[in-house]
Symmetry: C2
Subunit: 247 residues, 2 copies
C-alpha cells in the first residue's frame, strides 16, 4: 500500500514557504509521465505563483483563503490548441471541435493532475483540489490567457502543509465497487450504506448548524445547490462553445 495514496488528506492551510524549483520540476515530470491519449498529450498545466495572479484567480475559486496562502496554484487544462497548431503546420485535417475531443482531453488532464498530487505527497507537499475550476472556467480563461481549444478542468493548491487533518470518512466499498456488472441499490441498501455517515457526530452537527432535516439536504440545499448547478452548467456550456468544443 503506497503511503502517498493511503495517507492523503486535502491540505487547506500552508506554510509561507516556496516550493524549490527541483521539487516542482519532479512534480511536473510526474504529471508528464502519465498515460495519455495516443501520446498526443492534449493537456496543459499552468503553474501560477505570482501573488497578483493568484489574487486574480481567487474570485474564480470563490475567494477561498488557501488561494492566497498556497505558494502555487496548478491549473490543469484540456488542451487541443498546441496539437491543432501542429496539425495546421503539417497539412493535417482534424475535427476536434466536439464533445468527445473535450472529454478525451479532460481525461488526460486529470490523470496528469493526480500523478502530480501523488508525487507532491512523496515530497512532503500538501494539495487540495479546486473543483471550482469547472464553475468559473470563463474567469480562469481570462486571467490565465487561455486560447481557443483550451479549457481548465481542475486546479490544485500546492505547498508545504501547516495542518495535519484526520483522514476523511468514506462510504463502505459496496457503495462504489460493483462486481461483474452494476448492482442497483434498494432502499435498504441505501439506508445501510449511508448509516455510518449519517450517524457521525460531525454530520449531526452539519444538519443542526444549517437548520436542515437530513444530511442529504445539507448537500442539496447548501453545498451543491440546484440553482448553482443550473447556473454554472450554463457557463460551462457557453465556455465549451467559446473555446471551440461545442457548436
Amino acid at each position: 500500500m503506497l503511503k502517498e495514496i493511503f495517507e492523503h488528506r486535502s491540505i487547506r492551510k500552508y506554510l509561507d514557504k516556496a516550493i524549490p524549483k527541483e521539487v516542482m520540476d519532479e512534480v511536473l515530470q510526474a504529471a508528464i509521465r502519465a498515460s495519455n491519449t495516443g501520446n498526443m498529450q492534449i493537456y496543459s498545466i499552468i503553474v501560477t505563483s505570482e501573488k497578483s495572479l493568484k489574487q486574480a484567480l481567487a474570485p474564480a475559486h470563490f475567494n477561498q483563503a488557501m488561494l492566497s496562502e498556497a505558494p502555487t496554484i496548478l491549473t490543469f487544462c484540456a488542451d487541443f490548441n498546441r496539437f491543432q497548431k501542429w496539425c495546421d503546420l503539417r497539412n493535417a485535417n482534424y475535427a476536434y471541435d466536439n464533445i468527445l475531443a473535450f472529454i478525451t482531453a479532460s481525461v488526460d488532464a486529470i490523470i496528469a493532475a493526480q500523478n502530480a498530487c501523488v508525487e507532491a505527497r512523496h515530497h512532503g507537499l500538501g494539495i487540495c483540489y479546486l473543483g471550482t475550476a469547472l464553475y468559473n472556467p470563463d474567469k480562469i480563461i481570462s486571467v490565465l490567457n487561455l486560447p481557443k481549444g483550451v479549457v481548465p478542468v481542475t486546479a490544485i493548491t500546492i505547498g508545504y502543509p501547516a495542518e495535519n487533518p484526520p483522514l476523511t470518512d468514506r462510504l463502505p466499498s459496496e457503495a462504489v465497487v460493483h462486481y461483474e456488472t452494476y448492482k442497483d441499490f434498494s432502499e435498504e441498501d441505501i439506508n445501510r450504506i449511508y448509516s455510518e455517515k449519517e450517524e457521525r457526530e460531525d454530520s449531526k452537527q452539519f444538519i443542526k448548524e444549517n437548520n436542515k432535516e437530513t444530511l442529504a439536504q445539507v448537500f442539496t440545499d447548501i453545498r451543491y445547490k440546484k440553482s448553482d448547478f443550473e447556473h454554472f452548467s450554463k457557463i460551462l456550456i457557453d465556455t465549451l462553445k467559446n473555446q471551440g468544443f461545442l457548436k
Copy 2:
C-alpha cells in the same frame, strides 16, 4: 521520485494469472481514498473478470486482444445514481441532470482511476487505459447494466505483465507546462517542440507504413479521424441525454 509513476508504461500483454483478492482490494481501496467532490463519491467502479462479460465488453473497445487476455477490466463511471437515490429517500431536492454534474463526477472517477493505476504498479501489476470507453459508452452501459445517472468515462485492463516495453517518448516539458499564464505557440515554437518526435525512427516508420506525408497526418487520418470524432461525439451526446446529464 516515485518509481510507480516514473517507471509506468502501458501493458497490453498479460500473463494468464488471476489477481489475488487481497491485491485487488488494495487497488480498489487506493481508488476509494482518492480526493473527490465534497466527499459525495459520485463515481463507481465495475470490476469485470468473467470471461463471457469481458467478451461482451470487447466490441465496445474495438476488440483489442488485451480485453480477453487481461484477467480483469475495471470500468470507472461518473455516477450520480446512488447519491440521487439517497437524496430521494432523505427529502432532498437536487439538480444533477446537467453538464456540470457529469464533468464533476467524471473528474472524481478519473482521479480514482489513476490512484488505482499507481497502486496497481506498486503490486507489480500492469494496466492500460481504454480511451475507447468514451467512444462506445452505450455498448458498455448495456453490457454492465448501468442505470440512469451512470456513464462510463474510462476503463483499464489490469493484470500481471507479459511484456516489458520501453518508456514512451514525451514532448519537452515546455509543450505542456506554462509558467504564470499561458504562452501561446509560434510556428517556430511548434517546430522546435515537435522536432525530436518527428525525427524518431518509429515516427518515420509510421508515416511510411501509412503512406502519409507527415506524422500529424497519421493522427488525423488514421488514429483520431475527423469522421470518428464526429460520429462518436454524437453517440456520447445521445448517451449523456439518455443517462440524464443533458436535456
